[in-house]
Amino acid sequence: MKKFLIALVMGIAAVSSMAANSVKVTVNGMVCSFCAQGIEKRLSKMDATKDVFVDLKKKTVAVEAKDGQTLDAKAISAEIVDAGYDVVKIEPVLQSVAEIRAELKARK
């Protein structure tokens, strides 16, 4: 039983460490490709950023952290606001940007 519990805990830890560390941001005012370019460029320059995806129709910006790094939600929010847009909601998600992109595209 003890061995089983240890294996279970190790398994959960392994899965959670493999799950992507991302944030999904809902942004107002982001309506054109130039808006998206600006936000993508600014967020891509952040040290912890691995990948960025912008969906204009869903008003969503997704940012994924590099392995072993943590995203700073406040800093991401500040970058978007500084680019000229309003952040409505920011939430951590255990999905990669590729998964978020696929999910949002599937909803269209």
Binding site: S33, A36, Q37, D82
Partner: protein
């Protein structure tokens, strides 16, 4: 309801008054924007650098010609662009811009060069499917008045992801004092893809026009 009415009014204002060759007169912070507007009577190149999210400095050169081809003007100026106000809405964005320039103008009907100032205002309203803008700009120098106004409105044919090419139909109406008595009307096809944007059209004088913009 009140907020909704406000958005409708703002959109209507933007549709009624519009001026500017392109969707926004500056790019995002730390970006360079290059723009061009080319037709037989008007050739303009414009470059600016956004040193903040709301301010850009640059330079432009414009060659203007009267409808009969007799009078010409060449204007080079330093420009400043300021995003005076932005409204970020869930499905739209609206802006008020200040655009100003100071430079030298020469012409073939006067000697030497004169200092020209060109303060102006642009308002625009945009969603992922609808665009409207209005611009009014004074072009003044000693003995010269080439004030300019334009309005643009249009729609995209369909929604795309931002990294795909989006085609738009845009109708522009513009007028300038001193060189022409006619109002130029140009229906245009606009293509936006990533960092570039091009427009092609033929105006009501059967002249071809092309606009471009690139952000880098």
């Amino acid at each position: 309801m009140r907020r909704h009415l406000g958005k409708i009014c703002l959109g209507a204002i933007c549709a009624l008054f519009s001026l500017s060759a392109l969707c926004g007169p500056m790019g995002f912070k730390d970006s360079w924007m290059s723009m061009g507007d080319v037709s037989p009577n008007w050739q303009e190149v414009f470059v600016n650098y956004a040193f903040t999210a709301r301010d850009a400095a640059g330079a432009s050169a414009v060659v203007m010609r009267s409808d009969d081809g007799i009078k010409t003007r060449q204007l080079t100026e330093a420009t400043y662009t300021r995003l005076a106000k932005r409204w970020n809405m869930p499905e739209a964005q609206a802006n008020i811009w200040f655009i100003g320039g100071v430079g030298n103008i020469t012409g073939n009907d006067f000697s030497g060069s004169r200092t020209m100032s060109s303060p102006g205002v642009q308002v625009d309203y945009e969603t992922t499917r609808i665009y409207a803008s209005a611009t009014s700009r004074l072009y003044r120098a000693q003995g010269l008045n080439h004030d300019f106004a334009s309005a643009r409105a249009g729609f995209s044919f369909f929604e795309v992801d931002y990294d795909q090419t989006q085609p738009w139909f845009i109708l522009e109406v513009r007028r300038m004092r001193g060189l022409t008595d006619k109002t130029e009307v140009t229906p245009m096809l606009r293509l936006i893809h990533n960092r570039y944007f091009v427009e092609f059209g033929v105006n009501n004088a059967s002249q071809a026009r092309m606009n471009f913009m690139y952000i880098f």
